[in-house]
């Protein structure tokens, strides 16, 4: 295990660009992949908390924050946003061969890129708002053999040990591991900062390197739509829900609901 000096700690934050979660999303009829062109793309909101947490750790301990994103060319906007919040450098994994990658392939590309960076701490969001799987962090941890401290509502690093509160069904678990380690954070953990004007200007000069499949040492057959380990066979818009009965409260609104619940056999 590598000795980690917190002043030189290297934090890699994984951020994904996603369609704006307020926008209507559709699947491309041709290959059932998400139509990413027709909607505004933004940084996955849940990854803003990951960036914020990385910056807070850096502010308290020193070290370097590198943001990593895999996505089409416009994903650089998301990397720039993280840089304007304060991250030091960006790595963009981009290759046409990655289109249609499932979580398994995404985790492969991210794992290779993280390995190349030599990260001491990797921070993820808890879920991407488009795929909504919450599996990529665990997959990357498994691939890299890193201790997994996911769904954290608090993170602290001291003397080469990371300690988190892992949100559970019943409360939380306190989890500890030696660095290097992998963390994902939940949205309760902090309040992400807005990029300042100075931050936005500074971000323009920060380095963003790109990596393609060859650079990562990944064979084209291992990723992309053709390599997906799970496939969408059919997609259809959900039949619109039959319009419900809406009544104005005339003083007996509660009784009206009770009548409905009785008719539906809930009471």
């Amino acid at each position: 295990m590598r000795e980690v000096d917190s002043a030189t700690m290297k934090i890699v934050v994984c951020v994904k660009q996603v369609p704006d979660s307020w926008a209507e999303k559709t699947l491309r009829p041709s290959d059932h992949t998400l139509d990413r062109e027709s909607v505004d793309a933004v940084m996955n909101e849940l990854d803003e908390y990951a960036v914020e947490e990385a910056l807070r750790l850096q502010e308290s301990q020193g070290g370097e924050v590198v943001v990593l994103s895999m996505g089409p060319s416009q994903a650089t906007d998301t990397i720039r946003k993280a840089l304007s919040m304060g991250a030091d450098a960006g790595v963009h994994v981009v290759d046409d061969g990655l289109h249609g990658s499932d979580a398994v392939a995404t985790s492969l590309a991210l794992a290779k890129a993280i390995e190349a960076q030599g990260a001491d701490l990797v921070i993820f969001g808890s879920e991407s708002t488009d795929a909504r799987m919450s599996v990529v962090p665990a997959m990357v941890a498994e691939r890299l053999g890193l201790p997994q401290l996911t769904f954290s509502s608090s993170v602290s690093v001291e003397g080469g040990t990371v300690r988190t509160n892992r949100v559970t069904e019943y409360g939380y678990d306190v989890v500890e591991a030696p660095l290097p380690a992998l963390v994902s954070v939940v949205e309760k953990i902090n309040e992400p900062r807005y990029p300042s004007f100075k931050g936005i200007m500074a971000a323009k000069k920060k380095p963003v390197s790109t990596l393609d499949l060859a650079g990562l040492g990944i064979a084209p057959a291992e990723v992309g739509l053709g390599a997906a380990w799970s496939v969408v066979a059919e997609a259809a818009a959900r039949p619109p829900k039959a319009k419900g009965t809406i009544v104005a409260d005339d003083g007996a609104g509660g009784v009206a609901i009770a009548d409905f619940l009785s008719a539906q056999k809930f009471i």
Binding site: L27, V135, E142, V231, A235, A237, G244, D249, G253, A258
Partner: protein
């Protein structure tokens, strides 16, 4: 007939209902076999057998629960390698999905999360983008790993042998690297588990404060329901965070969801959209939550909800 492994969700041997739902789905594909990790298996055996488990694999060693996620994935990976099951089903909880994720990588298998139905050939139905699109997916590589949402199917009694088979698993060093050093339980009261409840009554910003949740709880108790809250309510500290429903809270799919003083932001809907029946109380007729309502009342929740609670009390005698 090939086995279908089901990871048991339990607390010290008290099995969660979702496990019985998974066993019911597993029987469509092959022979259900439960996988129990942790202590308390003896208490769990009868219920698992009753719901169709021909075999119950038990892995009970202290180190299996001393580390998060990875040990369960390694127990399952060992069984997948030895037993070559037709599929592995897990609950679509935060932990279930992560166990499935690690198992997918370890066993070289595809994974489908948040299924709401599974067919005999392993095709899974998912409701994506907050329920607006329904997709049918299939795992194309390895052993299908499918995580299924609670309340997707009614659990059925299907008595089977439930033969206990103890398994010993040697954990990898990586699985032991993260340690659980403390477990903190936050009170949940006497109400049913939010994720599993058949009826959920929730409150949002319209409830106005912590005291306001009194009327929500009273309605919930009259129906034997769980209480939920919107993020606006949990962020304001009116109700504890673990009761948040939505994208970054719990996903619920009860028979009945009653939303009170909740506007129906997309992030809230993402967590309750597949509820079977939705009732709404909101004073703003334009609130988007009404789009989901089977029955809605435009009115003040502080008059409508107590009246409803009282009326339920009368009718239940």
């Amino acid at each position: 007939m090939a086995e279908v492994l089901v990871l048991v969700e339990h607390v010290d041997g008290t099995v969660k209902k979702v496990t019985y739902e998974l066993l019911t789905l597993a029987a469509r594909i092959g022979e259900p076999a439960a996988v129990f990790v942790g202590s308390g298996a003896d208490a769990a055996l009868p219920g698992l057998a009753e719901h169709g488990a021909a075999t119950v694999y038990v892995a009970d060693a202290p180190e299996l629960t001393a580390h998060p996620v990875a040990p369960k994935a390694e127990v399952l990976a060992t069984l997948v390698a030895e037993r070559a099951p037709a599929a592995v089903l897990l609950a679509s909880t935060a932990e279930g999905k992560e166990v499935g994720a690690r198992l997918a990588i370890r066993s070289g298998s595809g994974i489908i999360t948040d299924a709401v139905d599974v067919a005999a050939d392993g095709t899974a139905t998912q409701a994506v983008f907050g329920g607006s699109v329904i997709v049918q997916s299939k795992v194309a590589t390895g052993t299908p790993i499918i995580t299924v949402r609670t309340n997707s199917v009614a659990p059925q009694a299907a008595p089977a042998a439930g033969t206990r088979v103890d398994v010993a698993v040697e954990l990898s060093a990586a699985a032991k690297a993260a340690k659980v050093v403390d477990r903190v339980e936050q009170a949940k009261g006497g109400r049913p588990d939010l994720a599993e409840a058949a009826v959920v009554v929730s409150g949002g910003r319209g409830v106005g404060g912590a005291e306001g949740f009194g009327v929500i709880e009273a309605l919930a108790d009259s129906l034997g329901a769980a209480v939920g809250a919107s993020r606006a309510a949990t962020d304001a500290g009116w109700y504890p965070h673990q009761f948040q429903v939505g994208q970054t809270g719990k996903t619920v799919a009860p028979q009945l969801y009653i939303a009170n003083g909740i506007s129906g932001a997309i992030q809230h809907r993402a967590g309750m959209q597949t509820s079977k029946t939705v009732v709404v109380v909101n004073k703003d007729p334009e609130a988007p939550i009404f789009e989901l309502a089977d029955f809605g009342v435009v009115g003040d929740l502080f008059t409508v909800v107590p009246q409803l609670t009282e009326e339920i009390g009368k009718r239940k005698g």
